[in-house]
Amino acid sequence: MSATVLPAATAGATITWTLLGTATPAGTVSTYTFSGLSGYKQYRLVSKVGLASSDDIFMQVNATGGSIYAFSLRSLLTATWSTNLNNGSAQINLNKTSASTQSTDFVIEDMSNSKSASWTNTSGQTDSGTAIVNLSSAITSLTYYTNGVLFSSGLIRVYGGN
């Protein structure tokens, strides 16, 4: 594995990103899973892919441990943070605009040491709450997938960052 220094996830911070895995879509696969993740504070999924036809792209964050997880994601393309709370694992729509080519650059951080989070729901109403989070959970795998369309070209890379 090679160490690569990329733009930091947080302004002013220096994070060294290590390339953990690469996939090169070629037309038969609609789901990519990167497993065996451990030992890093953050993970980063970078992709530029072609799809057989227009579709949405999703990512699922899987982790060890208890019932509720909190994940913080930052898109380095849109410079926005989002917090996702879910039971067991988190499923995230990375790009709601259906298109035949899509690029993503997301940093995923396990916020399990945080005991509260706020969020905005899909109807646009803002509310907040306190989540009881599992303090021992850790990200174990990332799954990157479409709504049914095959990935036809491009590159998907996962990095670990400390």
Partner: protein, 40 residues
């Protein structure tokens, strides 16, 4: 149309394999997905 495949890459072993979806995976995969990064 044949069932889409899943590519599983283990970052520890650096081995990646393509496999067919199980029936359960295919049912879940085909289900509507509406959650976003801002969903709770």
């Amino acid at each position: 149309m044949s069932r889409p495949k899943i590519h599983e890459f283990d970052v520890t072993t650096q081995i990646g394999v393509d496999r067919e979806m199980t029936d359960e995976e295919y049912e879940n995969f085909s289900a509507p997905k509406s959650e976003s990064a801002n969903d709770k």
